[in-house]
């Protein structure tokens, strides 16, 4: 018999949701054949079969959250006896055994919301050390955008609601991850939001001209390019504050994160090296990323490495917001709905196509004046798209 257990599939996960079984009871499986789909806080992964045989028992219902080390299914192997588990599968401890750790280390783990029993100690006699805990805590703090695969085929059935009964939604997976990151960002970064109004008339005209020429390019592609150009002039917003080293790290690439609303919640794919791409390329890539995000097909590299984030909420309709910065970045700019508004131009009231932008920034790293200057530069490039084109390399 071979017990297939949930093992740490990376990044020190402590638990996961069982989404789906690719096999059924009594079915024959080959070594390395995918058996189970598991969702962690950050990703969805398939657990391959550690051996060949017949599925004898499926122990955990899909939709259940289980901790690392839990036996999920049992395979009757061809060899009959126990099959050595692949090296990548950590040995699980008997249920009664506890990891070795001092009370202080245990306290540290609790404070960092780490299940110490799932840690592998590096201290004497395998004791979990403070460093083991802090190392994992630091990893968990890493601002890696969420990646998720399609939701389980079998979604948890809606609980029949009788009168007076409250309905609950499971607070886990991406929702929980978003919550964690929002709290962390707001707790650590002193947010300040600066607002500006951008006249979109010329850009819209330009887009229409392009459209007539057979090139339909979204406004967001222009925003991304303009943002990257403005960031070049104000590199402090394309930076990360390294508190430990007491330095502000100015990034060399302009990797723009795009806040995307997906069925499972907010996700931020990253458009890498915007400075090397044309507006057309940006448009194409952005479309792809949006699609992948909605279908949960984003790769790890497409979810990491962002240096500045934009949130294009305009299509949903909005006039202003106080966006939360994608920690540890320094700034985030949100674009709101473009509306026809009366504006004064050359002493006359005319109809302008106006859009509000909200620029949140880390006030530890930059001040209001810099944020205004940065936004003005962005505004200039959008209000005069020819300038944007002229300044392109």
């Amino acid at each position: 018999m071979l017990e297939v257990k949930l093992h740490d599939i990376g990044e020190g996960m402590t638990e996961g949701d069982i989404l789906h079984y690719f096999v059924k009871h009594g079915e024959r499986v080959e070594r390395d054949q995918p058996l189970i789909e598991v969702q962690t806080d950050k990703m969805t992964a398939e657990l391959p079969s550690p051996g060949a045989g017949v599925v004898k028992e499926i122990l955990i219902e899909p939709g259940t959250t289980v901790s690392v080390g839990t036996t999920l299914l049992v395979i009757e192997t061809d060899e009959g006896g126990a099959v050595p588990i692949k090296e990548s599968t950590p040995k699980t401890r008997p249920a009664s055994a506890r990891v070795l750790a001092t009370p202080f280390t245990r306290k540290l783990a609790r404070e960092n919301r780490i299940d110490i029993e799932q840690l592998k100690g590096t201290g004497p006699a395998g004791r979990v050390t403070d460093e083991d805990v802090l190392g994992l805590a630091a990893k968990q703090e890493q601002p890696e955008p969420v990646k998720e695969a399609p939701a389980a085929e079998e979604k948890p059935a809606a609980v029949p609601v009788t009168k007076g009964q409250k309905k609950t939604i499971p607070f886990k997976g991406r929702r929980k991850q978003i919550a964690k990151r929002m709290v962390h960002s707001l707790k650590t970064i002193p947010h300040v939001t600066h607002f500006e109004e951008v006249d979109m008339t010329e850009l819209m005209t330009f887009r229409n001209e392009l459209k007539e020429a057979g090139r339909s390019i979204s406004a967001a592609a222009f925003f991304i390019k303009a943002a990257a150009m403005a960031l070049k002039d104000f590199p402090v917003f394309n930076a990360k504050l390294d508190e430990e080293r007491e330095v502000i790290v100015l990034e060399s690439e302009y990797n723009i994160g795009l806040a995307v609303d997906s069925p499972d919640g907010l996700i931020v794919p990253v458009l890498h090296q915007v400075e090397t791409k044309s507006i057309l390329e940006i448009h194409k890539e952005m479309k792809e990323l949006n699609e992948k995000a909605r279908e949960n097909r984003l790769s790890r590299s497409e979810l990491t490495g962002g240096t500045f984030t934009i949130s294009n909420v305009g299509p949903l309709g909005s006039i202003g917001a106080t966006p939360v910065i994608n920690h540890p970045e320094t700034g985030l700019m949100a674009f709101h709905a473009t509306k026809e508004k009366p504006v004064v131009r050359n002493g006359e009231i005319v109809i302008g196509l106006m859009m509000n932008v909200s620029m949140s920034f880390d006030h530890r790293v930059a001040d209001g004046a810099a944020a205004v200057a940065f936004t003005n530069r962005f505004k200039e490039l959008i209000e005069h798209p020819k300038l944007l084109i002229v300044e392109l390399v």
Partner: protein
């Protein structure tokens, strides 16, 4: 305004004499009694000259009967006097134990607070001066187990006088332990006249961040020596001198251990049933979650204090303390 206090450089035993003299002068109710404390000045000369100064009615020689001496002191105390009884060595107190355990410590409770027993029992104690059997006993735990009596134990001349005055003024019986080894171990500036060291307050002898050394009496000095040596190897020890063994200063113990995360308790008494175990209890109750290593004890062994040729092996020395510290640091 600057206050100038006149001080004298005194040994611990001289500080004790000074404290007794101060209180004999201050309060007529204070009387001293004990074996050979009068014309002979006591076995360690702690009462030297006091009989001449204050007369036989206030500094009394008693027969060689510890039980009788203690009973007399208790009788005097409940009748308005403040007796300071000297037991020549703590190891000689056993015949008086019954008087202390069943009377001195219980009268206040027995009379629902109508009578208190304001007396002090002075008792030199501890090993390290090559005394014969029983003379070196470190039996403080027999008394800290007994509610109704305070137990204090200075480790410096300054504390000896200040704690003695506070003990004489205390309404309850106080066992005043004087570490033999420190009687003449060094001199310190001791203020003239009255001052008090509060009973129930430990002293932080040294600030440190890696480990807390908790000790009292002669071991407090030993712990400080070990801390000095450890400092040279980069280990920062905080040294807490308990000074009062009952009631314990739980706050200071907890505060220090919570800061350092490690504790080594040094006691000269036998390991089993010693006060170190109570200190461990305090740490467990207050600071468990802060511990980075098991609380460790360095103590005498579970044998009677041996004769002088083996005495040094029995007593915790700096080397044993250093080993214990290294053990908890590298746990």
């Amino acid at each position: 305004m600057e206050m100038r206090v006149k001080t004298n450089k005194l040994t611990m035993v001289q500080a004790v004499t000074d404290g007794l003299r101060t209180m004999l002068q201050k309060k007529e109710e204070v009387v001293l009694l004990g074996e050979d404390i009068g014309s002979n000045g006591g076995v360690f000369r702690a009462t030297e000259g006091l009989m001449e100064e204050f007369g036989e009615e206030r500094v009394m020689d008693t027969p060689l009967s510890e039980a009788g001496l203690m009973g007399t002191a208790i009788g005097m105390a409940i009748n308005g006097m403040i007796p300071v009884a000297e037991i020549q060595f703590l190891g000689f107190i056993y015949p008086a134990y019954e008087q202390i355990a069943t009377h001195a410590t219980r009268i206040r409770m027995r009379t629902m607070g109508k009578y208190t027993v304001p007396m002090v029992i002075r008792a030199p104690y501890g090993a390290g001066i090559r005394a014969p059997e029983i003379h070196s006993d470190s039996a403080e735990a027999l008394f800290t187990h007994m509610p109704g009596m305070k137990v204090v134990c200075p480790s410096t001349p300054y504390d000896a006088k200040g704690l003695l005055i506070a003990s004489i003024e205390d309404p309850d019986p106080v066992l005043f332990l004087e570490p033999l080894r420190l009687y003449r171990a060094g001199k310190e500036e001791v203020p003239e006249g009255e001052y008090r060291v509060e009973i129930g307050k430990a002293a932080r002898r040294r600030e440190g961040s890696d480990v807390t050394l908790i000790a009292w009496g002669a071991m407090a000095a030993q712990a400080s020596k070990a801390a000095e040596k450890l400092e040279q190897t980069g280990v920062s020890c905080e040294v807490i001198d308990l000074r009062t063994l009952y009631p314990l200063d739980k706050e200071t113990i907890a505060e220090s251990v919570q800061k350092t995360g490690r504790a080594v308790i040094v006691q000269e008494a036998h390991a089993t049933g010693g006060l170190a175990n109570d200190v461990m209890g305090v740490i467990n109750d207050t600071s468990f979650l802060y511990l980075r290593a098991p609380i460790t004890r360095v103590s005498g062994f579970d044998v009677p204090v041996p004769f002088f040729s083996l005495e040094e092996h029995y007593l915790p020395d700096t080397e044993r303390i250093i080993q214990a510290v290294e053990k908890v640091i590298h746990y």
